[in-house]
């Protein structure tokens, strides 16, 4: 990040890199001690691999209804290990393909939510005064509003698309991050080196981006990891409630399709269980990782 890496300044540049490598290695060593975190990471790696290789393993044609290979709602067989949906498409293929949307929406929505939260938190923590009061009252308002209800309202009034869902989750789940980041910002800004920076002529922008942001990053990172599992669950909930994009396959959408086909009352458990279990596993993996990261990075939780 040091843009002042002028020629001849190589030494300090490589020093910074070495320091970063060093801290990363330290982070990894600390992370390794959390067994649950390792399980979570392994789970994520497997799921990410499945999602990324989906175009090779199942192909985008799996979504096609006109060229569906099976008949409606077949039970599991050799050809269709998880059976078929009401269009005759392979549920295993859809499950693999759906991982892409569910993960993408989860990641983007969590990123959006954390970005908003960080911005609001740093601004409120740094400037204080009436701006902080105003921002924090808005945060409070969002905090007391039930997230799901707000997201449902947003998703209902906007058109049914993936971006709507991302936006709906993103703009409703940021208040916790904002509160955390604000507290951390205030803590960081009370340190002497901020005063030094200010004395040397550092402006608001410089202090916020060069000193506060790097120091709240660990918190933000942990918050993102935890937020993803929430975002994936919310995405699945919204899709299950029929508020997702009906033309793309996602896990929540599969549950909604199953419900609409009457799979619950007609006992087609193989249609309902796999997407549900997949959602639970991904959310669990992210939570495990997030907890481990939090434990490593947040000094208040102590070093094991």
């Amino acid at each position: 990040m040091t843009t002042a890496a002028a020629p001849g300044n190589d030494g300090s540049g490589s020093l910074a890199w070495a320091r970063r490598r060093d801290s990363l290695a330290r982070f990894w060593r600390a992370y390794r001690t959390h067994r649950a975190g390792l399980y979570g990471l392994a789970g994520l790696a497997v799921i990410a691999l499945i999602a990324l290789t989906a175009p090779l393993t199942v192909g985008g044609n799996i979504q096609s209804v006109t060229s569906a290979p099976g008949s409606a709602l077949e039970s599991p067989s050799g050809q269709f290990p998880l059976g078929t949906d009401q269009f005759g498409r392979s549920l295993l293929g859809l499950l693999i393909w759906g991982a892409r949307i569910s993960l993408a929406v989860g990641l983007l929505a969590a990123a959006l939510s954390v970005a908003i939260g960080t911005l609001v938190g740093i601004l409120a923590g740094h400037y204080g005064g009436w701006l902080a009061t105003a921002l924090m009252r808005i945060t409070d308002w969002f905090l007391v509003m039930p997230t799901l209800v707000l997201a449902i309202v947003l998703a209902t009034v906007m058109s049914h698309s993936v971006w709507t869902v991302i936006l709906a989750i993103g703009v409703t789940s940021w208040p916790t991050t904002a509160r955390l980041v604000r507290a951390q910002t205030i803590a960081v800004e009370s340190r002497p080196y901020i005063e030094r920076a200010r004395a040397l002529g550092g402006g608001h922008r410089h202090i916020m981006s060069r000193h506060v942001l790097p120091n709240v990053m660990p918190l933000v990172l942990a918050q993102t990891t935890l937020g993803i599992s929430n975002a994936i669950l919310t995405e699945a909930t919204l899709a299950f409630l029929g508020l997702g994009d009906p033309t793309v396959v996602s896990w929540g959408g599969m549950l909604q399709d199953a419900r609409e086909a009457g799979a619950v009352s007609s006992g087609h458990w193989w249609y309902l269980a796999p997407p549900g279990i997949a959602i639970a596993l991904v959310a669990l993996s992210f939570t495990l990782c997030g907890r481990a990261v939090e434990a490593v990075l947040n000094p208040k939780l102590g070093v094991r």
Binding site: A36, S64, V65, T66, A68, A72, L73, Q86, F87, G88, L148, V149, I152, T156, S159, H160, T237, F240, L241, G242, L243, P246, T247, D257, R259, E260, A261, G262, A263, V264, S265, S266, G267, H268, W269, L272, A273, G276, I277, A280, L284, T287, L288, R291, A295, L301, G302, R304
Partner: protein
């Protein structure tokens, strides 16, 4: 069904509040799947009373017969109030209702009805011709009272009651639908006191005075509608002691309730539900030809009666070759096989084959068969050529892209739109699917290219034909009209006027068929299928029930009160449904176990964090 404007709401039962309810329903579902359910067949609770419980999902718009337009409300009105004439349960011809006989003057303009003497209001007063005259006059003179039934009296000049058993209606022009007036006759002595008809919903004071087979005794919004039999009903009292329409916003929950015996009847089943219920004991599945059509409507360039164009329909659809190409690439057989899984009949003419008198199908040379090759040729001829990217572009260089308006809450709509998207993509046409909860607003303002459309058809086809006449269009772009798709076609209108004035049934049927042929050729309303009515009821609660038509017909949403009026309680209707744990129970247990496992792991994690906290 005549009074189902706007039918896009009425016929695909809207489920307001369903979104929010589903979450709760899903939770409740797990709960109901695991918990034992208290027997709902009333024997235990009400000392031997036989209760017929019907699961419904559509919300009531109003219980005032002057305002109600949805299927649920008009069905209840059929039970509460007698009409001048009823449709025969067998073949739908007009049979005596309140009127025992009717005749028309030689000039076809004066109709005289004889009102029966043996009909009484539930408060003991005699039903007279004066009640009927008052009902019609109110609808004619008070704009607020014309919301639901205004179209039936638009052609009336004068309605009088010279005696207690004689009703005389004078017409402006001949009208063939005088024995198919779907207007509930209300008691004058009760309704005279109503001030503002637009705001009176008839749901405050119970029981509601009526003269139908049932009397409305209680109603709670989206919870239940309760009716008691009218013991003095002239056709004979119904046999059940109570009729309850109970709300289940989630159809799967309703099916679970049917399996448990909590409800006696469920309609609107999915193919999967129907096939699993077929093997259930004490349950009969009724899979009958439906009275609905399911069509693809193309926006003909919305226009109001004053000539103002509005909306944003794609001008490409004004080219008949484009409309033909679009429909020629729709494989109707596949839709019936895959989406409806056989619970539908492939679409032909406008009126479903169930109404044999008026059913028309195109001859081989007129028929737009499934033929993607011809569709591509038609588009080429219309000037939409395929570009390098596989998409068709018009002469103006813009790619041909269309929008499809569909109902977000209708699984069939969503399924069909997936197929359309793929078929048209192969042709090089892009399709944006707009599945929304409220289709009425974009529809009424003409803001759509294509839309998935459906109406229920009454034994008398006048109404479903009238919605495609020029006169049905809104007066101004902001007004609401009866129109379905803004179709305005002179030859169609001329035929419509002729059939309305034709009192000879055979000649009228012939005119109706010519209208269907004309509508088919315009290509604005393309019927893809006639979905079946798929319903199920418990045979240990209902011994027998009349379908309409009797041979193979539906039970819910009939053009009459036949089903619920005729329902015979099963002798052992107290019998508890038996059976071991259903799939739902197993599922509930599995889900519960997963939730518990998840919760446990979180608690463990929490503990660990706490331990970290303690340092």
């Amino acid at each position: 069904m005549a009074r189902t404007v706007p039918s896009r709401n009425a016929l695909r039962p809207p489920r307001p509040g369903r979104r929010v309810a589903i979450g709760a329903a899903a939770v409740a579902l797990l709960a109901t799947a695991v918990l034992p359910v208290r027997g709902a067949v009333a024997d235990d609770s009400k000392g031997g009373e036989k209760v017929l419980t019907v699961a419904v999902s559509q919300s009531v718009d109003s219980l005032s017969p002057f305002l109600a337009q949805r299927v649920i409300s008009t069905s209840v009105h059929r039970l509460m109030y007698e009409y001048l004439t009823d449709y025969d349960a067998g073949d739908g011809h007009a049979v005596p209702g309140l009127a025992t006989a009717w005749n028309t003057s030689p000039d076809k303009l004066t109709w005289t009805y004889t009102i029966r003497r043996d009909a009484k209001w539930s408060d003991g007063r005699q039903v007279t011709a004066d009640d009927a005259a008052w009902t019609f006059n109110k609808t004619m003179t008070d704009k607020g009272a014309a919301t639901a039934n205004g179209s039936f009296v638009a052609n009336f000049k004068k309605v009088t009651a010279p005696g207690p058993t004689t009703l005389v209606v004078e017409l402006k022009r001949p009208q063939a639908t005088m024995t198919a007036l779907d207007v509930p006759i209300v008691p004058r002595h009760v309704w005279e006191k109503v001030g503002d008809f637009t705001r009176f919903n008839n749901d405050r004071r119970f029981p509601v005075v009526g003269d139908g087979p049932f009397v409305l005794t209680d109603y709670k919004v989206d919870q239940y509608i309760k009716l008691r039999p009218n013991k003095t009903f002239w056709r004979g009292a119904p046999q059940f002691d109570e009729l309850v329409f109970k709300y289940y916003k989630d159809n799967d929950a309703a099916v679970a309730a049917l399996r448990k015996g909590e409800v006696s009847f469920v309609s609107n089943l999915t193919p999967a539900q129907a096939s699993s219920l077929k093997s259930a004991s004490h349950i009969k599945v009724n899979d009958a030809p439906g009275r609905r059509f399911f069509a693809l409507a193309a926006n003909p360039g919305a226009q109001s009666k004053d000539g103002t164009r509005f909306g944003d329909g794609n001008p490409a659809l004004l080219d008949p070759r484009v409309r033909r190409a679009l429909f020629a690439s729709v494989d109707r057989t596949m839709l019936v096989d895959k989406v409806f899984q056989g619970h539908a009949v492939e679409g032909e003419g406008y009126i479903p084959p169930r109404f044999a008198d008026y059913f028309w199908k195109p001859a081989a040379e007129q028929r737009i068969a499934y033929d993607p090759v011809e569709a591509a040729a038609l588009l080429d001829a219309a000037g939409y050529r395929t570009g390098a990217d596989g998409r068709r572009t018009g002469k103006d260089g813009r790619p041909l892209g269309l929008r499809l308006l569909c109902h977000a809450i209708d699984p069939n709509d969503k399924a069909v739109s997936k197929y359309l998207q793929e078929w048209w993509a192969k042709l090089g046409i892009g399709l944006t699917v707009d599945c929304v909860d409220n289709v009425t607003d974009p529809w009424m303002s003409g803001e759509y290219d294509l839309a998935l459309d459906g109406y229920s058809v009454s034994p008398d086809p006048d109404y479903v034909l009238s919605i495609h006449t020029c006169a049905a269009r809104p007066a101004t772009p902001r007004a609401t009209g009866q129109t379905d798709d803004f179709v305005c076609d002179r030859p169609f209108d001329e035929l419509y006027a002729k059939q309305l004035a034709e009192y000879d049934t055979a000649k009228r049927a012939d005119l109706v068929k010519r209208m269907e042929s004309r509508l088919y050729d315009t290509g604005y309303i393309n019927v893809m299928a006639y979905p079946n009515a798929v319903e199920a009821y418990r045979t240990d609660q209902i011994e027998s029930i009349t379908t309409m038509p009797e041979a193979a017909g539906n039970i819910y949403g009939q053009d009459g009160y036949w089903s619920w009026w005729s329902a015979v309680p099963a002798s052992g209707s107290a019998a508890k449904p038996g059976g071991g744990p259903s799939a739902g129970v197993v599922l509930g247990i599995v889900a519960g176990a997963i939730v518990l496992a998840g919760a446990a792991s979180f608690v463990v994690l929490r503990r660990r964090v706490d331990a970290d906290d303690r340092e």
